[in-house]
């Protein structure tokens, strides 16, 4: 995970699978249902209308606490097996659609390994911090530059 700018979060991960399979796993509801929970609960709703202008909505019920976490969005751009651009709104946030992020997912395959990159563009630094903060006290402007260099000293 990196922070390319004050309003962005980028997440990258390699998968030992060709990109057409990764693409299926991130776009087919019955497959998304099996991983999007991050092992923290059960995905109870997973609706995907995979076309530009189409909507999606995921709902998870957390194992711990039993609360619901719901996200929805609209697909802006779809290039099968390559790239999906979508908005993402957290329904638990104030004014979800105004505070929605724009997520660009790209898939690159090399020697049978697929690199998945998600670039999360936030409407403001406040939203970016709130996302990373996930529930903790607000007020941080930017600790990440520091973290990159200093985290090493914690090991």
């Amino acid at each position: 995970m990196t922070f390319p700018s004050d309003t962005q979060i980028q997440i990258t991960r390699e998968f030992a699978a060709p990109k057409n399979l990764v693409y299926r796993a991130v776009t087919e509801p019955e497959l998304v249902t099996r991983w999007w929970n991050a092992k923290r609960g059960e995905v109870t709703t997973c609706e995907i209308d995979l076309r530009e202008g189409g909507k999606w909505r995921y709902v998870m019920v957390a194992d711990e606490g039993g609360y619901e976490v719901a996200f929805h969005g609209e697909y802006k751009e779809i290039v099968p097996n390559e790239r999906v651009v979508t908005t993402e709104a957290f329904e638990g946030a104030p004014d979800p659609d105004t505070n929605a992020t724009t997520n660009t997912m790209t898939l690159e395959e090399h020697d049978g390994t697929t690199t998945l990159t998600v670039l999360i563009d936030c409407p403001s630094q406040f939203v970016r911090d709130a996302i990373v903060e996930s529930g903790m006290e607000a007020g941080l402007q930017d600790a990440y530059d520091l973290l990159e260099e200093v985290a090493i000293s914690l090991r």
Partner: protein, 118 residues
Amino acid sequence: MARQATTTDAFNAVAEPRRRQILDVLAGGERRVNDLVGVLGLPQPLVSKHLRVLREVGLVDVRREGRERIYRLDAASLKPIHDWVKDYERMWSDRFDALDEVLEQLKEKEEGSGDDDK
């Protein structure tokens, strides 16, 4: 002396770019105040002010050597900030671990159906 509540925890202390710069320098080893003044190119009173804030939240330690005050980073106090960013990262990491399993099953299925065609 009145002080803004914004300096009371490590999160807020590192929100100030100059203080992050000081921590960056101290991450490379302990420094005398004058060394920091030299490296940062800031007036000494300002550097001292930032150091005081960092000390109050426990991000830096100070020791005396003769008349010199020598500052060093207390890395352990950065851990809450580190954990805070890590939480979000861990969520994605767990998600991708689950995705790995889904992909393994997909691959097996594809290979299985390939055999059926033969």
